[in-house]
Structures are given as structure tokens and as C-alpha cells.
């Protein structure tokens, strides 16, 4: 009898743990919606999303987040351009080419990369990368979108490599054997057979990497210069959605339009990363 009760309690406890994450997500979203939607009492949705100036503490406040959205997209785009080829290449090398010991060392290295806190990467970027970018491109300042993209590419790499590598392992051995039997070289096999067969997993890896990049805050805040202008390229300072929330939340007067606007930015971020993650999930399940 006692054992049965114990079983019952433990089962329910585990159920609760399982539900907890879903409940938290729902609560967070409800809270975001409740606080964020209030901003539309002060600005029209069109003005908020397409407005070109972000001067949140002026009277009256100008709450246009287009420069911030574009800033986030540019940095993410730059990071993807850098990290996807390198990450997928790295995964191919680890999964297909590297001999036993090299493979272990590489995998360990990638895991270490994932373990570096983002503020440390930001700090290193500020001291080394920012002056380098300034000198290489002869810019007036190195605090640019490009610096942010490079550091973010480092952060996305571990995610991309480990998931893409899993996808490559999941390709049935018979595919590879078949390709070899037809006389294909190793590279032909990788390029024509393995990569297409693992493509959905690799797309998922890329999407999850991008999800990581969009939500990153600390490093981009330290090295992208944070000016709220509409960026015309990666060699200019720009301001991301995440950095805006982090930099301004401390000052926003609770209940002001600025405060609500920051929550509304949170909703936008939530929607973007939700969409990215769902896309990744769709591709992952297509694989199975």
C-alpha cells in the first residue's frame, strides 16, 4: 500500500516537472502580451514597427523600432554567413574525415567553445576584434555590426556543429557503401550523397544556431556600438532588439510608454525565436 502511494506521488511529481516548462512558457508569454500590448495605447502598431527613430525618453517619446529590427537581422545574417559554412564544414570533417584522436580533440574543443560565457566573448571582442575591424576596413570606429557578427558566429558554431554532426551520423551506412560501390570518390560521396541525405538535419542545425544568435545580448551590446540608425551594411554601428531591452530596462519608469515598448520588443523577439525554433523542429522531424 505504502509503495503504491509512493509510486503515485513520485509519478505526479514527475508529471509536474514535465508540465512546468510548458506552463512557464505560457505564463511568460501571457505576461509579455499583457505588458507589451499596452504600448499600442501610445503608438499605432504601424508606427511602432516601421518608425525610423528610437528616442524613448524624449517628450513625446518616439518609439520606432525599425532600426532595431533591422539591426538584429543584419547581425544575425552576418553571423549566419560566417558560421554556417564553417560549422557545416567542421561537422563534415568530424563526422566523415577526421581520424579517431583528432575527432575527440575537435569535439572537445567545440564543447569548450560553447562553455565560454558570452560576456567573456564580448570582452575579448571589445579588446581584440574591435580595433582589428577598425584598422582592416579603415573605419572611424570598430564598434560595428561586423564585429558583432563575428563574435556571434563563434557562439552559433557549437550548436551548428554538434547538431549537423548528429544528422550526418544518422544517414544510413548503406547510402555511403552504395556510393562507394558505384565508384564515387570520398568527396563526391559527401557532397552528392551524405549532405543531401542529411539536409533536413543540417537545416535544423542552422536554424537553432540562428535562434541562439538572435537572442544573444551581452556580447552584441558590448561591441556593436548601439546606435539606433537604419543600418545600410555590416560596417556600421547598429543596435539590436536584445541590447535595447538590456540597456534601457533599468531606467524605464514602470508604467510609462517606454516600459511598455520594451515589453513589446520582447514580444517581437519571442515571436522571431519561436518561429525559428518551430522551423528547426519541422526540419528535425522531417528527418525521422
Amino acid at each position: 500500500m505504502l509503495r503504491k502511494i509512493k509510486e503515485f506521488i513520485i509519478e505526479k511529481l514527475i508529471l509536474l516537472c514535465g508540465l512546468a516548462s510548458v506552463i512557464f512558457v505560457a505564463l511568460i508569454f501571457i505576461f509579455l502580451l499583457k505588458e507589451g500590448l499596452s504600448v499600442f495605447k501610445f503608438v499605432r502598431p504601424g508606427e511602432f514597427l516601421a518608425g525610423r527613430s528610437w528616442y524613448p525618453i524624449s517628450e513625446p517619446a518616439q518609439l520606432g523600432i525599425l532600426p532595431l529590427i533591422l539591426g538584429s537581422l543584419w547581425v544575425t545574417f552576418g553571423a549566419a554567413v560566417i558560421s554556417v559554412p564553417i560549422g557545416v564544414g567542421c561537422a563534415v570533417y568530424i563526422a566523415e574525415i577526421a581520424p579517431g584522436r583528432t575527432k575527440e580533440v575537435l569535439k572537445g574543443g567545440i564543447e569548450l567553445l560553447a562553455a565560454i560565457p558570452s560576456v567573456v566573448l564580448g570582452f575579448i571582442g571589445m579588446v581584440t576584434l574591435v580595433p582589428l575591424v577598425k584598422n582592416v576596413f579603415h573605419l572611424s570606429t570598430g564598434l560595428t555590426g561586423l564585429s558583432g557578427s563575428i563574435i556571434l558566429a563563434f557562439m552559433a558554431m557549437p550548436t551548428i556543429v554538434s547538431i549537423a554532426e548528429d544528422a550526418l551520423y544518422a544517414v544510413p551506412k548503406s547510402y555511403k557503401e552504395g556510393a562507394f560501390a558505384l565508384g564515387a570518390t570520398h568527396w563526391q560521396t559527401i557532397w552528392r550523397v551524405l549532405l543531401p541525405a542529411a539536409s533536413s538535419g543540417i537545416v535544423a542545425a542552422v536554424m537553432l544556431g540562428i535562434g541562439r544568435v538572435i537572442g544573444e545580448t551581452m556580447a552584441v551590446m558590448m561591441i556593436t556600438g548601439n546606435s539606433a540608425v537604419i543600418p545600410r551594411g555590416l560596417l556600421e554601428p547598429l543596435r539590436t532588439l536584445t541590447a535595447t531591452i538590456a540597456a534601457e530596462m533599468g531606467e524605464a519608469v514602470v508604467g510609462s510608454e517606454h516600459y511598455f515598448a520594451l515589453f513589446a520588443i520582447g514580444i517581437i523577439l519571442f515571436i522571431i525565436s519561436f518561429a525559428v525554433n518551430v522551423t528547426a523542429d519541422l526540419f528535425l522531424h522531417k528527418n525521422k
Binding site: 577598425k134 551590446m221 554601428p237 543596435r239
Partner: protein
Amino acid sequence: MRKILWGMAAIMVIAVPALAAGKKGALQIKGSDTMVNLGQAWAEKYMEKNPADFIAVTGGGSGTGMASLISGTCDIAMSSRNIKQKEIDLAKAQGHDPVEIKVALDGIAVVVHPKNTVEKLTLDQLADIFSGRIASWKQVGGADAKIVILSREVNSGTHVYFKEHVLRKNDPSSKAEFAAGALMLSSSQAIADEVAGNPSSIGYYGMGYISPKQKTVAVAKDGTSEYVEPTIDNVMKGLYPISRPLFFCVESRQDEAVRKFIEFALSPEGQAIVKETDFVPIK
């Protein structure tokens, strides 16, 4: 399992009264990052003289301090700007009545790279530079290079002060803003570092940050008046045009402990500490 539960229960029994007691005995001071060092220095000296009292000083920005004062989680809010009308309204709505007490002065130094040949600027020129109307150093007598504007983030009292008093020249109807292309840095130290490394940049920070790695610019009220360097003497005499008061914001009906601490800060001894921490005493 059972041991862990008992352990947790024991911790709670011990911790809860301890936390409650901690809240009662400690004076919480919170707010302006500019004033953290000053507040800390006052608190240390005060605790040395009154070992029975405990004072905790934390930063976070002037707005954070005011928000805490309103929500009742701190006793004194340090602020490097006046209380905003919105904050007063919000406080009144929750049954508080905050007042500001001037405790020190701060000069805001405008700094450039040591190699920059520009030595002095008028307030009008500064306003034009920071709002983006003057884009090249050539227009103010320097090299032919684009000016890189460095500003603090909007959560900084220094940012607000600079905007209201330099860009808008104390005119409440003015719509002047920092140039959209201005770089927003999250701390005064970040501005100091960027100015030290970037020959075409211009930035501003509290006088406490002045170091040989950056060059201060002498500032004049207008074209006809004298150019003044940001020094403690010049700020005290009221000659340097970009200086601001630093405040303690407190409930109008103060506790005995709060009143005693403010009295200490305003005493000759307290004001001597102001000078030691590179701010400017009010008397």
C-alpha cells in the same frame, strides 16, 4: 531524502528571521552609477563612526534608484538628475512623497583623443557636434576626419543631463536629440576606453574619470565668454558651464537613521569626502 527535507526546513527556520532582521537594521541606498563610489565612501566613513549602523550601497542608474524608492525597497535613492514629474506622480499615487536634497556637484568633462588638435569648444559647437549638425572635425578647427560621437545609454543620468543642458540648452520646448548615429556605450569606462583608442571620437563623462589617456576640452558658454577647463575649482566657482547637482531622494518624512546619514553627508567631513572622490563639494 528525509535528511534533505529536514535540512531545508532547518535552513528556512534560521534564514527567515535573519533576512527579516537584515532588512530592519540596514539602510539601503541605491541609484546613480555616477554616485556609487561617493555613496560607498560616505557609507564606509559613517559606519566607522557608528559601528551599530549598517549601510548598503548599490548602483543601477538614477531611474533604478527612484523606482526602488517608490516601491519601498530602498531608503535613499541617489540621483544625478532631478526627479521627473512622472516619477513624482507615480510615487504620490502609491502614497509616497519624495523630495530631493542636493549633496554634491559634478562637472561633466568633454573628452577627445590626446592627439586631437581641438582644444576648446563653445556650448553651441558641442550641441551641433552631438546632435550631428557638425560632422567633421575640420568644421571646428581640427583634422579632416569624421567625428565619432560617443554617448552614454539612455538609462544614464549623465545622458539625460547632457541632452537637456547641452543639446537643448535648458529649453524645455527644444526637440534636439543626440544624432541617431551616436554610439551608445553602457558605462563611463567604456567611453574612456573608446576615446583613448580612437583619434576621431568625442565623448563625455563625470570629472572623476579624467585621466591622461583622454584630453579634456575647455568649454565656453558662448563665443564671447572665456573657455574654462573642467576642474574642481572652476565648478565650485560656477565658471565651468557643464556641471550638475547630485541628489539624495528621500521620503519627505524621514526616519531618524536616514536623517542622520544625510546630516553626515552634508557635514564638513562628508563634504571633504566629496572632494576626495573627485566630485565637487556644495559648500
